[in-house]
């Protein structure tokens, strides 16, 4: 009962924070637009400077929605991976899954002149899935989770070294494109592209909600879960599909974003004090969206018109959480 009331409190707090941060994303930006005007713009009754309408509706709105879904997707895929590998340090960027997606996109960018959103997402998905399959393959042989993590890191290195070699032969603009893309960016998704991103991200998130029960069973150990009637193989494939879609969609549209996938599930566990996915998953989803919205706002340097790269901001929030988790590992019961 105690856990449940805590869950409701955290749920409401995060819901309110999400709402505030969402509004903050629309109100705050490099150009100062009065709150009244922003509200009128959203209501469609604003009749002043048209540039402001364009800024709010075509730049800030899609950027905020992108941040919301990207944050939620990365956090949830981080949670799925941590449960699947029973490893608190698993996450899309650590296990090389983002790099795999990155490699897929890089291949498409260089060798195909047509890169539609669909082909980019597909390439990112294939790249992410291949890395995931490799790691799952190894997870059967290597039981030690730290060793598996190291294998993940190595696969990530392999993917990035292939990317470097591709870059060497790529035309200069492509190299430039990669470097910038690698910094992470919520601004690249315009209103027209947004539905594509939202459909994939929402699909992956919805799918992960259906996985709550088997995820809880996995926490008890595979043989126990099998005894409970969970089809381990199917569940693994379903988790792989969900994480693949979530990581691929965000990486394809926003570039590889570090730390959100790794750190947010821990924030959720610290807030809740439970590893029950029924409560953990929604909280991770909300917290991921909040953290991404906050990071998105922090990229705009107050008082100036300039902008910081997103991946310069996410570690500021993510890294201390990870260090805290590692230091207090024995006191926090995660995968019991």
């Amino acid at each position: 009962m105690k856990v449940r009331s805590k869950y409701i409190t955290v749920y409401i707090c995060l819901g309110v924070a999400l709402l505030l941060l969402f509004c903050g994303g629309l109100l705050y930006g490099a150009v100062r637009i009065p709150i009244g005007s922003v509200l009128e713009i959203i209501a469609g009754t604003f009749e002043g400077r048209q540039t402001w309408v364009q800024i709010v509706m075509q730049s800030r709105l899609p950027q905020t929605i992108t941040a919301l879904f990207a944050g939620a997707s990365l956090a949830v895929s981080g949670l799925l991976l941590q449960t699947l590998f029973k490893n608190p340090l698993a996450g899309p960027s650590i296990l090389g899954i983002s790099d795999g997606a990155y490699l897929g996109v890089a291949l498409v960018m260089i060798y195909f002149s047509f890169n539609t959103y669909l082909s980019t997402i597909l390439a990112a998905f294939v790249g992410a899935s291949v890395v995931l399959l490799i790691i799952i393959g190894f997870s059967r042989k290597v039981r030690n989770s730290v060793m598996l993590l190291i294998i993940g890191i190595m696969v990530g290195y392999l993917a990035s070294s292939i990317i470097s070699i591709l870059n060497y032969h790529a035309s200069p603009d492509k190299v430039h494109q990669f470097v910038l893309w690698g910094m992470g960016d919520f601004t690249g998704v315009s209103m027209e592209k947004l539905p594509w991103f939202v459909v994939f991200a929402a699909g992956g998130l919805l799918g992960s909600i259906f996985l709550i029960k088997p995820l809880n069973a996995l926490l008890l150990g595979e043989s126990y879960a099998a005894n409970l009637g969970v089809r381990i193989k199917r569940v693994r494939i379903a988790i792989l599909l969900c994480t693949g879609i979530l990581t691929a969609a965000t990486t394809a549209f926003c570039g590889p974003i570090s730390f959100i996938g790794l750190a947010v599930p821990h924030i959720a566990r610290l807030l809740l004090g439970t590893s029950n996915h029924k409560q953990l998953l929604p909280i991770t989803l909300l917290a991921g969206a909040c953290v991404a919205l906050l990071c998105n706002m922090l990229t705009v340097v107050p008082g100036s018109n300039s902008i910081l790269p997103l991946n310069a901001i996410t570690p500021i929030i993510g890294a201390p959480v990870i260090i805290y988790v590692i230091v207090n590992r024995r006191n926090i019961q995660y995968f019991n």
Binding site: V31, S59, T299, N305
Partner: protein, 377 residues
């Protein structure tokens, strides 16, 4: 005794002052041989000529009070003098040089010394057809990345000189230990277009083409200033927006930069000319839209495989279509690999200026054909 001592003392004083006069006159003799070349636009280097050598001081572009490098250019055909001034000795004319950037290699081609180019880094950026031809038949070697050049190749080529673009607080790694002089070609840090051109005079001295390089510079200078005066006659100054968004930021050249200067000289009202200094500034899309939505003309450079069209630009980022030049189809684009843009702008900013004047004031240049930019379709 006192008198004798006094005479002795006076004698010593006299001798001492005579000696010192002699040594001072020695200095004077050397100073007389010295003649400084006037440098007109460049702020980064100065040339001093002596009997047996030429000294070129390259200033640190990031701290202009300091000297970055001091080069002592000595004629190869003369014996090496016994006493040498402090600095990096370069025997001229250089016959085997390796270039970290294609831009400098192309400058040397224009001075008629393509034979001295033995290697170039990052050949994918090369647009000069003569260099490309020699790369194809192996007379010019590919040295790899400028950040990680192929050291063994540099040694194998028996290189006499490396020409590199310096970056702040970064060295040249293993290349520094080869004992091959490295010329730090900091021309890209000059803020005036002709300042960059003037660096050609220094490179000319290295390759024994000092006079030719001087004449290229003076011709370019006169033509540039003539065109600038022509543009100044026009009363209307179109408001200009430059470049486009990369990733999350729109990199805006400052008003005092090379780009800011040349657009202003071409008779444009550069929207961000109030950004002080010469360094580019990262801006958010919304702040650029807020200031520049009603620009008259928009120019950007690109180097993608595909051509840019209004549809592709809109597809890349839909909010671009809010700018007035987009709506009124006043966008001009320049492909930096298919044109010789980067190879030309250092020695021939006048050619770029011509293009820009034609775009901003077509009435001033009837019958002109654009060289680098083209109206977007």
């Amino acid at each position: 005794m006192t008198r004798q001592f006094f005479i002795g003392f006076v004698f010593i004083i006299l001798m001492a002052s005579l000696c010192s006069c002699e040594s001072r006159s020695g200095v004077t003799a050397e100073t007389e041989c010295f003649k400084a070349d006037s440098v007109y636009y460049a702020k980064g280097f100065e040339i001093s000529r002596f009997d047996d050598w030429i000294i070129v001081n390259v200033r640190n572009p990031w701290d202009t009070l300091k000297t970055l490098r001091r080069y002592v250019l000595i004629d190869k055909n003369k014996p090496l003098p016994d006493s040498l001034p402090e600095g990096i000795i370069i025997r001229t004319p250089v016959e085997k040089a390796v270039f970290y950037t294609s831009v400098h290699a192309s400058m040397v081609v224009q001075m008629g010394r393509i034979d001295a180019i033995k290697g170039v880094c990052e050949i994918q950026y090369v647009t000069d057809s003569l260099i490309l031809e020699r790369i194809a038949d192996g007379r010019i070697a590919d040295i790899g990345l400028a950040t990680a050049p192929n050291i063994e190749k540099i040694i194998e080529l028996d290189t006499e000189l490396i020409i590199a673009s310096p970056y702040e607080n970064s060295g040249y790694g293993a290349a520094e230990k080869l004992g091959i002089p490295i010329v730090e070609a900091a021309d890209y840090m000059e803020n005036h277009p002709l300042g960059r051109t003037e660096w050609g005079r220094f490179y000319g001295l290295l390759f024994g083409e000092g006079e030719r390089a001087d004449s290229i510079f003076f011709a370019t200078r006169d033509r540039y200033n003539h065109l600038k005066n022509l543009a100044a006659k026009s009363e209307k100054r179109p408001r200009v927006l430059l470049e486009r968004k990369y990733g999350a930021s729109w990199i805006i050249p400052a008003g005092g930069s090379y780009i800011g200067t040349i657009h202003s000289d071409a008779g444009a009202d550069y929207i961000f000319s109030d950004f002080e200094g010469s360094e580019s500034v990262h801006q958010t899309f919304e702040s650029v839209l807020d200031r520049a939505y009603d620009a008259d003309i928009w120019l950007f450079k690109y180097d993608t495989k595909h051509e840019y069209t209004y549809d592709i630009l809109k597809d890349e980022y839909q909010p671009y279509s809010n700018f007035r030049p987009f709506k009124e189809k006043n966008i001009y684009i320049c492909h930096t690999i298919r044109t010789t843009y980067y190879d030309d702008i250092t020695l021939h900013p006048d050619r770029l200026l011509e293009d820009l004047i034609f775009i901003y004031h077509p009435e001033l240049m009837p019958g002109y054909d654009l060289r680098y930019y083209a109206p977007m379709k």
